[in-house]
Amino acid sequence: MAQGSEGPEAQKERRLIDDQGKRTDGRGPNDMRPLRLEVGMLRNADGSAYIELGKNKIVAAVYGPKEVHPRHLVLPDRMLVKCRYHMSPFSVEERKPPQPSRREIEISKVIREALEAAIMVDQFPRTALDVFVEVLESDGGSRGASITAASLALANAGIPMRDMVAACAVGKVDGQIVLDLNDVEDKEGEVDMPVAYMPNLDRITLLQMDGKLTIDEFKRALDLALQGCRQLYEAQRKVLYAHYFSSSTSGEQKGQ
């Protein structure tokens, strides 16, 4: 891998990868942060899930299928999927005002589109489905973690899906392509590229990118992202299996 794409900015920054190839939190380039998944811990929601990825702490909840309100939004041939991604005021370094920012509105849209590809929307014409994501603590890669959790919440709600959606970010840091950016890498790195993927259907359902890559770097980054998504997909399957087939559901561990 290329060692350092030295723009004028990269020089000012502290090094994010040391001589041993270790990242600021000790990981190697292809390592994911510690992950914790839970399902079904919210009582009122039709489905819910919780994810911790590094310091990310995110709750997702699903309500529906239900009546469409207001009526003129009804889609005669499919389900109306709505999504709200929201950050708690205390989830970031500087308090974020509670009203949705433009960033949150855009992310709500791309998360919805990332999930819709998996949902069998034509099975529930004239109904609505609400997906709510609340970021309690944010640590880089929150939109990927949100999709991974929301996908579990959809499964928990019994919404028919073609595949699970798993999502993570890759990026370029000190000139290297690395998996699953942490907060510092997200802010000071050169590139952030979140990807959502349905492994069984081999379909990318979210793809965004910020920062400069050569075409070759892009290919390598995409490949690494898909590897990360497959890892998360396995973790999603495991927690669902444990939730439905083992006696101790992880949901009960909360709030101890």
Partner: protein, 283 residues
């Protein structure tokens, strides 16, 4: 308190059923009339917050986080820090929540929690001053309701109080040019007391503590009281029924004792070491 669309027939039948049980001193979930549901409090659950707490009161789930910043004091309190309490009924919390700016229920929730904290003198705001008249701490307490099953007022109050009591906020000194500099230390807030919110609901002639959402849906009226160790510091009647004066007096007297039990639970939730530190900071 957050139900916006109701099934009225079901509600009426349920009220009859509830009253039958109450006449026998029972409730749907097996509690006695004066029992609270299990209360669980965890602090420091969000590392980017300066203080945080997650509270489960039965199935009601609330998380509160504290952030501070330096700001100008309000004009009428130049020698005190600012306290800002905000509450959001997250749409995750119930099928009946509408998106948009906080509605009257969320605003009442924030303001009642605020009054309990403010009027108790829990945090000595005269110590939250960096440069008198010019620069003070603004303490933001943000309350997120994650799951609604009744008695949000108490659950939100416990979460806010525990988040404040477990906070560690940046310490500042004034630099040579008079502008504030972070020392790098994190210091606890000057906590002087732990205010405790107690809520009772009245259904027919029965008075019960810590109502569930089901009970709130059919209650006639509600009373929320906040207590310090010495007495009462805030009151909020809710609901469209009325209380007899004698009922109120009996309730306030009884709840003062109840508050002591809950205060112990909050202190345990803060952890012995933390609770001690928190108390110590007032001096």
């Amino acid at each position: 308190m957050s139900i916006s669309r109701r099934n009225f027939v079901v509600e009426r039948l349920r009220k009859e059923k509830l009253k039958e049980l109450l006449a026998k001193g029972q409730r749907l979930d097996g509690r006695g009339l004066r029992d609270y549901r299990p209360l669980s409090i965890s602090t420091s659950v969000v590392s980017k917050a300066e203080g945080s707490a997650q509270v489960y009161l039965g199935n009601t789930a609330v998380i509160a986080g504290v952030k501070t910043s330096l700001d100008r004091p309000y004009r009428d309190t130049p020698d005190r820090g600012n306290l800002i309490v905000n509450a959001e009924l997250l749409p995750l919390a119930s099928p009946y929540i509408e998106l948009g700016p906080p509605n009257e229920n969320a605003i009442e929730l924030a303001r009642v929690v605020d009054r309990g904290i403010r009027e108790s003198g829990m945090v000595d705001m005269t110590k939250m001053v960096v440069k008198p008249g010019e620069l003070v701490y603004s303490i933001f307490v943000d309350i997120n309701v994650l799951n609604i099953d009744g008695n949000l007022l108490d659950a939100a109050s416990y979460a806010a109080v525990a988040a404040l009591a477990s906070s560690r906020v940046p310490e500042y000194t004034l630099g040579d040019n008079g502008s504030p500099v972070q020392t790098g230390n994190r210091i606890p807030l000057p906590v002087t007391t732990i205010p405790v919110s107690i809520t009772a609901a009245k259904i027919g002639e029965y008075v019960l503590y810590d109502p569930t959402e089901e009970e709130e849906a059919v209650m006639d009226t509600r009373l929320t009281m906040a207590f310090t160790e010495d007495g009462i510091c805030a009151l909020q009647k809710g609901g469209s029924g009325g209380w007899a004066p004698a009922e109120v007096i009996e309730l306030v007297e009884g709840s003062f004792e109840k508050a002591k039990e809950i205060r112990e639970q909050i202190r345990r939730g803060l952890g012995v070491g933390q609770a001690e530190t928190a108390q110590g900071t007032g001096s």
